[in-house]
C-alpha cells in the first residue's frame, strides 16, 4: 500500500488521529489514553497488519514527553510512526508488550532512562541502571556531577 492509500485507510480507522506532514513515513499523533485500543487495531486490521515494532523510544521536550512507535508490516512492507504526547509530571501510558513482545524490553528501557510509567507492564523495573539509582538519565534536566555524561 502506498502512503496515500495508507493515510486514507488510517483516517477511516482512527478519526481522532492528527497527521504530521513532511516526514519520510506517515506520522500521526494519538491521544495517550486511546493508544492501547488503536495499537490493537493497527496490529490486526486487514490490510494494515503492523506486526513488527522496530523502534520504540521517547523524546523529552522539556514541557512534555513524546512517545514514538515505529511500526512496520512484514506482510505489506509499509511503515508508520505513531506518536503520543505525555504529561511531564505524571508520564503514563498503557503498555503494548502483549501486542508486540519486543516492547517489554524497550518499555523497560524507556522507563529506566525517562521515568515513563507503562501501565499493566508485566515487569517494570530498571534495566540498565541499578535498582537504587535516583533520577532519569535521559531527561534533559538530569545532572550527575559524579558520573559525567555531558562531554
Amino acid at each position: 500500500m502506498n502512503n496515500e492509500e495508507l493515510k486514507i485507510k488510517l483516517t477511516e480507522l482512527i478519526p481522532s488521529a492528527t497527521f504530521e506532514e513532511g516526514a519520510e513515513w506517515i506520522t500521526f499523533f494519538v491521544d495517550s489514553p486511546n493508544w492501547k485500543t488503536i495499537a490493537q487495531q493497527l496490529f490486526s486490521a486487514d490490510g494494515l497488519n503492523f506486526n513488527y515494532l522496530f523502534c520504540l523510544t521517547c523524546i523529552d521536550w522539556k514541557t512534555h514527553f513524546t512517545m514514538l512507535y515505529h511500526l512496520s508490516s512484514t506482510i505489506h512492507r509499509h511503515t508508520i510512526v505513531v506518536k503520543a504526547n505525555l504529561d511531564r509530571i505524571n508520564p503514563e501510558i498503557e503498555t503494548v508488550s502483549d501486542i508486540w513482545r519486543t516492547a517489554e524490553f524497550h518499555e523497560r528501557e524507556v522507563y529506566d532512562l525517562f521515568g515513563v510509567i507503562f501501565l499493566q507492564h508485566p515487569d517494570l523495573r530498571r534495566l540498565f541502571m541499578t535498582d537504587e539509582w535516583e533520577g532519569w538519565p535521559l531527561r534533559k534536566d538530569y545532572e550527575d556531577p559524579i558520573n559525567m555524561i555531558k562531554l
Partner: protein
C-alpha cells in the same frame, strides 16, 4: 543486586523477578557477568528445575555508557566515533548507519567511489564478524580448534583494515560525505589474496564443524523460535532469517550500491540453532561474492563529497537503517536545527534479539543455553549502549 546462588526452600522469601520462579526445590543460578560463554559482561539469572531451564532473566547495564546521552553533546561529525564502540565487531556498519542518517538530513549525494568503498568495507566487516562468531560458537559447544582457524583468517581481514583505516577494531573510517581517506594502494591486491585464501578455508570450515554429527546433535531442535514469534520479539538478522523471516535491509531497503549487486538473502525455515548457524555460514559466501564483484570495479574519483566544516541538520526527525552482522541497526536523530542532535536513539539488533532468549531457552537443558546464546551472536556493548 547480585543474587547469590541458592537453593530455594522458602518460596515466600524469594525476591520477585517478574517471571515465574516455579515451585520449591527450584534452583536459581547466576551465569555471568564474568563468564566465557556470555562473550562480555552479560548477567543471566536462571531458574532451573533439575537441569531444565524454567526462566532466563537477563540483567543488563554492566557496560552501559549512556551513548545516547553522550551524543547529545557531540557534533554531527564527532558522534560517529562513539558508535564504533557499540557493536565493535560491526564498527564500519555502525559508522555507515550514522553517516547515512546525517546525509539524509543534509540531503547530500556521495561520490560513487565512496559508495563502493563503503560496501566493500561493510562486507569485509561482516565476514570478519561471522568468522569470529563461528570460532566462538564452536568453542562454546566444546570444539576449541575452530577458534584458531577463524582467528587466522580474521587476522587477514584485520590487516587489510589496518592498512587503509589505521585501526583494527574501532575503525571510524566512514564519515558523513564519504570515507575518511582513500584506499591503500595495496588494498585490491591484498583483498584478492584474501578471497583466494578464504574460498578454500570456508569449505574447510564446513568440513570441520557443519557436518560434524556431535555438533549437529547440539544444534538441531534446540532454541526453536517460530516465524511469528521472531517478528513479535523484533528479531532481525540471521536470528530471524533462521526462522523464515525475510528481513535483510540490503534487499528490502537497498542503500548505496546494494541494488546493483548479485546476492541472495539467505533464509532457513527450521527456526532452531542449526538454522541460524547455516544462515551465517551461507552469508559468509554471499559476502565473499559481493566483495568479489566489487573489488575490480571500484570507480575512480573523489572518496568524499565536499561538505561544510560544521554540519547543521535542518529541524526534523531522521531515521536510517543498515544491516549489520547481527541484524537491523537503526539510527534515529531528532534535530532542532543546531550543530548537535537534540535526541538520538540507536535501535540495536542485539537488544531485540536478546529479548527472545527466554522464549528460546525455556524447557531446554542448561547446556543448551550456551548453544542458544552462541547462535544469537550477542555483543554486549551493542545491547547496553
Amino acid at each position: 543486586m547480585y543474587r547469590q546462588t541458592e537453593i530455594i526452600s522458602d518460596y515466600s522469601k524469594v525476591p520477585s523477578t517478574g517471571g515465574d520462579l516455579g515451585e520449591a526445590g527450584d534452583l536459581v543460578i547466576n551465569i555471568g557477568p564474568q563468564h566465557p560463554s556470555t562473550h562480555g559482561v552479560l548477567h543471566l539469572v536462571i531458574t532451573l528445575s533439575g537441569e531444565t531451564i524454567k526462566n532466563v532473566e537477563p540483567h543488563l547495564g554492566y557496560i552501559h555508557r549512556s551513548i545516547e546521552k553522550m551524543c547529545e553533546s557531540l557534533s554531527y561529525r564527532q558522534f560517529i566515533y562513539v558508535t564504533s564502540r557499540m557493536d565493535y565487531l560491526s564498527s564500519h556498519i555502525n559508522n555507515h548507519g550514522c553517516a547515512l542518517c546525517v546525509e539524509k538530513g543534509l540531503q547530500i549525494e556521495i561520490p560513487e567511489r565512496a559508495k563502493v568503498i563503503r560496501v566493500l568495507m561493510d562486507e569485509l566487516t561482516r565476514l570478519a564478524s561471522h568468522q569470529l562468531w563461528w570460532g566462538a560458537m564452536a568453542m562454546d559447544v566444546g570444539a576449541l580448534t575452530p577458534f584458531f582457524h577463524a582467528f587466522r583468517e580474521r587476522e587477514a581481514i584485520n590487516d587489510i583494515m589496518e592498512e587503509t583505516c589505521g585501526a583494527r577494531l574501532t575503525m571510524n573510517y566512514i564519515v558523513p560525505g564519504g570515507v575518511m581517506a582513500d584506499l591503500h594502494p595495496d588494498f585490491q591486491k591484498h583483498v584478492k589474496e584474501f578471497i583466494t585464501l578464504f574460498k578454500s578455508k570456508i569449505d574447510e570450515y564446513d568440513e570441520l564443524v557443519t557436518g560434524n554429527i556431535i555438533f549437529q546433535n547440539r544444534m538441531k531442535n534446540v532454541g526453536y523460535i517460530s516465524k511469528n514469534d521472531a517478528i513479535s520479539y523484533g528479531c532481525t538478522g540471521p536470528t530471524a532469517r533462521g526462522s523464515g523471516v525475510s528481513c535483510d535491509i540490503r534487499k528490502l531497503y537497498p542503500y548505496e550500491v546494494y541494488n546493483q549487486l548479485q546476492f541472495d538473502e539467505i533464509i532457513e525455515n527450521s527456526g532452531d540453532c542449526f538454522a541460524r548457524y547455516l544462515v551465517r555460514m551461507q552469508e559468509m559466501r554471499q559476502s565473499l561474492s559481493i566483495v568479489e564483484q566489487l573489488i575490480d570495479n571500484i570507480p575512480e574519483g573523489d572518496f568524499v563529497a565536499k561538505t561544510k566544516a560544521v554540519l547543521k541538520l535542518p529541524k526534523g526527525e531522521f531515521y536510517s537503517r543498515v544491516e549489520t552482522a547481527r541484524g537491523e541497526f537503526g539510527v534515529f536523530i531528532v534535530s532542532e536545527g543546531g550543530t548537535t542532535p537534540y535526541r538520538i536513539k540507536f535501535r540495536s539488533p542485539g537488544f531485540s534479539n536478546l529479548s527472545a532468549l527466554n522464549h528460546m531457552a525455556r524447557g531446554h537443558k542448561i547446556g543448551d543455553l550456551v548453544a542458544i546464546m552462541g547462535t544469537l551472536d550477542l555483543v554486549v556493548p551493542d545491547i547496553d549502549r
